[in-house]
């Protein structure tokens, strides 16, 4: 009998933990309103889209295996394309996650180990970084975020770190240990993307740790989420991940996370509280519903654009009526 209080305590703890680890949906479902693309090399077609970003009126897509960027209006009408395969100035190897910031497009170039910067019209402006393991060098940049002052935050995928560089590419600081993976706070396991909130909080898609990590504007670890204890425990429950490949901040500061193996985007508050999940896997799709969400971007009106790797297309989703963005 003396174990009874202990058992009750354990059960209560387990129950509370379970509630935290299996959250319910807090919003009406998002609706898929449009898709466009399809596999090919023609304008408006894609061969493995891996990144997406939005400006005030346009959608930019990393057409990865075609080594180019394509631009559309918010209804999916083709506008223009730029970039060509190669290793030279302004040429693209394998463009990945994108960011639009300060009127420019930032492209993480996987094969060329640089961040390429273009005007929104497609004029090449500059390249930042080079291949390597030193400060300001990259071994596969997967994604980039840009602060209002122009500082860059780069997910340095194979180097297992996040680098902060100034606008000229000069190293400022890093998170993570060069070349070492880990599951504790501040450690990474192939980080794929980065996003920065208006208040300066840095959010990192910690790819194979199946979690998101957040750091304060001063650089201190703040919080993390993704499955029990956010320690590389993957799954398909709400709030859990199975390989995180992209992250974006919405206009209200909420986080949208591309959950690759679960074929969905998950939406969270800035503190990491689960709000919603949506994707082709939840729609009874007739299309290929595997590997359908690799990157995500959010327009000011709350529309969510998703790079659908498997179907070589872009999905456009809109929020339910009672909640927003």
């Amino acid at each position: 009998m003396k174990f009874r209080p202990f058992a009750i305590l354990m059960l209560t703890t387990l129950f509370i933990s379970s509630c935290a680890w299996f959250p319910s949906v807090k919003e009406p479902s998002y609706q898929l309103v449009k898709t466009w693309g399809g596999k090919g090399e023609a304008s408006g077609q894609f061969n493995e889209p891996t990144g997406v970003a939005v400006s005030k009126s346009e959608v930019f897509v990393s057409d990865s295996r075609n080594a180019r960027i394509q631009v559309f209006d918010f209804d999916g009408n083709f506008q223009r394309l730029f970039g060509e395969p190669g290793e030279g100035t302004g040429q693209l190897g394998r463009p990945m996650n994108l960011t639009v910031a300060n009127g420019e497009l930032y492209v993480a170039d996987y094969f060329n180990d640089v961040i390429q910067v273009y005007s929104l019209q497609g004029q090449f402006l500059r390249a930042i970084g080079r291949a390597g393991v030193g400060p300001g060098e990259f071994n596969v940049p997967g994604g980039v975020a840009v602060a209002p002052n122009g500082d860059l935050f780069v997910a340095d995928f194979y180097n297992q770190r996040i680098q902060q560089l100034d606008t000229n590419g000069t190293f400022i600081r890093q998170w993570g240990t060069l070349g070492e993976t880990g599951v504790w706070a501040g450690e990474f396991n192939y980080p794929t993307d980065v996003a920065i909130a208006p208040n300066g909080t840095l959010y990192i898609a910690d790819g194979y740790n199946d979690r998101v990590q957040a750091f304060s504007p001063s650089g201190e670890f703040s919080h993390k989420w993704g499955g029990p204890l956010a320690m590389n425990i993957f799954g398909s429950f709400n709030g859990w991940f199975a390989t995180v490949t992209g992250i974006s901040v919405g206009p209200k500061g909420n986080l949208y996370v591309a959950d690759f193996y679960n074929d969905r985007v998950q939406k969270f508050t800035p503190k990491g509280e689960f709000l919603n999940a949506f994707g082709l896997s939840t729609k009874g799709a007739t299309q290929n519903a595997t590997h359908t969400a690799i990157a995500v971007a959010i327009a000011d009106d709350g529309s969510v654009f998703v790079a659908d790797y498997a179907n070589h297309q872009i999905q456009k989703w809109q929020p339910g009526e009672q909640h927003g963005r």
């Binding site: 390989t243 690759f260 790797y309």
Partner: protein, 97 residues
């Protein structure tokens, strides 16, 4: 005699076609989780002499390496390249194209 000539011609034609089309190596790789890692293997392989193209099948965990015409790749060579990319090569099978 006529049959022999026809047979020889057919064999030569078949061989030439096979030779011209090259070989595809199907690599079964552990931990091929998403394009981020698959592209890493591709990045290593595509710079290798004799490799024409690299594609992959994430569902099956396969990397498909097409060799250039008349070129061959050894299993040891492929294993080293996959190792360098941070993955483990489980098996290799060859397929004439």
């Amino acid at each position: 005699m006529k049959k022999l000539i026809l047979l020889t011609a057919a064999s030569l034609f078949w061989s030439a076609t096979l030779f011209a089309a090259g070989t595809q190596y199907n690599l079964r790789v552990d931990g091929l989780a998403c394009p981020f890692c698959a592209y890493g293997i591709e990045k290593k392989l595509i710079k290798t002499e004799g490799v024409e193209s690299v594609t992959f099948d994430l569902e099956k965990g396969l990397v498909l390496v097409k060799a250039k015409e008349g070129m061959t790749l050894t299993e040891a060579q492929l294993k080293q390249l996959v190792d360098d990319a941070g993955f483990t090569l489980r098996s290799v099978s060859e397929q004439a194209l």
